[in-house]
């Protein structure tokens, strides 16, 4: 099985970071994995996205043109990539920042107010990990076990205090039922 995932949002939302965590999580489950960032002349506030592929077999092209799963963390990302998702695929929407509904009727859609939830919990910078938790819930690319081992790979030792907060954020997303 191969799952092609596209995580898209504003620069500064932690799109690349959550993708890196996902890639580590998959690698530590002995899956094949690739992670590719958009690296245009992006800046804070501009658009950013990353392609993550999780597979049982070696990854061919690392580019995700037709995602099985799209995480849209802002409206421009949903506008840009909604039509690219494969029929039967999954779209996960941060419903705090995206007011409109998904137009496609041939995909599964999950709305989660990740930015609002992050704000309510006092972890405003971690909406990216909350929405990633929802991905873990609704798609079987990776499991929700052993989050900490993978988090330790991406959270620098100097920011050890962020470990528990990231874990909490992911769990919020895993447990959220819209």
């Amino acid at each position: 099985m191969t799952t092609q995932i596209l995580i898209a949002g504003f620069g500064g939302q932690g799109v690349l970071f959550s993708g890196k965590f996902l890639a580590y999580k998959a690698m530590m489950e002995n899956k094949e994995v690739s992670w590719l960032p958009s690296y245009g002349p992006e800046m804070r506030g501009g658009t950013a996205n990353c392609s993550v592929i999780v597979s049982d077999t070696p990854v061919g092209s690392p580019i995700v043109d037709k995602p099985d799963v799209l995480i849209a963390m802002n409206l421009p990302s949903l506008d840009k990539y909604e039509d690219a998702v494969v029929p039967g695929g999954i779209i996960i929407v941060d419903s705090t920042l995206i007011a409109r509904k998904v137009k496609r009727t041939d995909v599964k859609v999950y709305y989660i107010p990740a930015t609002q939830m992050a704000s309510d919990e006092g972890i405003t910078t971690l909406a990216n990990m909350i929405i990633l938790g929802q991905l873990i819930r609704v798609c079987d690319a990776v499991s929700d076990e052993n989050l900490e081992a993978s988090l330790k790979k991406v959270v620098s030792a100097r920011r050890a205090d962020m470990l528990d907060l990231n874990k909490k954020a992911i769990e919020l997303g895993v447990n959220y039922v819209g």
Binding site: K20, M27, V33, W35, P41, V59, G60, S61, P62
Partner: protein
């Protein structure tokens, strides 16, 4: 085996170079290879090495030349326009027979071009890379693991043959992260009695120089150098064959184009089309023999490239134009999709069945 870590291709090159014993890095930032320099800036001071951001690409390659003359492992990295600036130095290094490693993480051109991935420096890399008769060994990684492995191999080849090894990657390979396992390589020793290390008044001076005003002498160095090149063509060719046993259609692709093409080959095979792929890993020396052999049973070749068609000429030369060689390409920073490659394969397969 060492624990696997996720690393960007650019970072894997830098760490592999350190493992290979390189302690002297000179560079100048340019997207999409800047992570090589950033990694070196962080690591070199901690291990007693030199990281130096030069005032220009021209300065950086000449610093590399200076260190190489002392017999120490040294490298620089850049992206397409920066490599053009280094080309004078590359020629001087070839003329002096110095071992160096040079990395080109290509971006779209010509000119300042763009910053998205490209393979359009193929001619520049495989035809020498500067003025005068010379070659570089050109290695084309198609995964982050190969970014590391070929860097280590490149240093060995450079020392063995006293010349430049170039890692010719593209922006995708530099920017993507994949699991990579990094281990200190086996240490080989090479004759460096030519190095300029100080005589202690105990031996004759070694002279590192590319100026020969007597044409007979210059001709002799050229012939000797090309004898070494002939040995490299005989002994150092690297490639990967994928599903080639019964292939009637053969994709030729390297780097990210090979990754994309692999998806297309698998999709076409699922539809019963007999297609395979030859992925050159050394672009110079080009794997001529394997293409010549493939031409005995392959009906049509398709060269998949992120350029206007450059490697296609080597495929034509290797197969002596005995079979059609078609081009499937995108340029200027665009990457062909697996669907585009599959469509080309189907077009060829359809034509063959008629």
């Amino acid at each position: 085996m060492a624990e696997k870590v996720l690393m960007k291709g650019n970072e894997a090159i830098a760490e592999a170079a350190i493992l290979a014993g390189c302690r002297h890095y000179f560079g100048y930032p340019i997207t999409p290879q800047t992570e090589v320099a950033a990694y070196m800036a962080k690591r070199m001071p901690k291990i007693g090495g030199t990281f130096l951001q030069a005032e220009s690409e021209v300065a950086a390659i000449n610093m590399v030349m200076g260190v190489a003359a002392t017999g120490k492992r040294t490298m620089t990295s850049s992206s397409s326009p920066g490599i053009s600036l280094k080309s004078e130095g590359l020629s001087y290094i070839a003329g002096c027979d110095l071992p160096t490693l040079v990395v080109n993480v290509e971006r779209g051109g010509p000119g300042l071009g763009g910053i998205q991935p490209s393979q359009s420096d193929y001619f520049q890399a495989t035809r020498g890379g500067g003025h005068g008769d010379f070659h570089m060994i050109v290695l084309a990684p198609a995964s982050v693991q190969e970014m590391a492995d070929l860097t280590i191999h490149g240093f060995d080849l450079a020392d063995k043959y006293r010349m430049t090894s170039m890692i010719l990657a593209d922006g995708t390979m530099g920017q993507m992260m994949e699991p990579v396992s990094l281990e200190a390589p086996e240490v080989h020793t090479y004759d460096k009695s030519w190095a300029v290390t100080g005589t202690n008044c105990e031996r004759e001076h070694n002279i590192v120089n590319s100026l020969y005003l007597v044409p007979e002498a210059l001709e002799k160095t050229n012939f000797e150098r090309y004898e070494r090149y002939r040995m490299i063509e005989e002994n150092e060719v690297m490639y990967e064959e994928f599903m080639m046993d019964d292939a009637e259609i053969c994709i030729a692709a390297f780097g990210v184009a090979a990754r994309v093409s692999k998806n297309a080959v698998l999709a076409a095979r699922a539809e019963g089309i007999k297609v395979g792929m030859i992925r050159p890993i050394t672009l110079w020396p080009f794997p001529k023999a394997v293409f010549a052999k493939a031409a005995e049973h392959v009906h049509t070749f398709i060269s998949v490239e992120l350029s206007m068609g450059q490697m296609i000429e080597d495929v034509q030369l290797a197969t002596k134009c005995t079979r059609p060689v078609l081009l499937c390409n995108r340029a200027g920073g665009m990457i062909p999709s697996p669907e585009e490659v599959l469509a080309k394969i189907k077009e060829v397969a359809g034509g063959m069945s008629k």
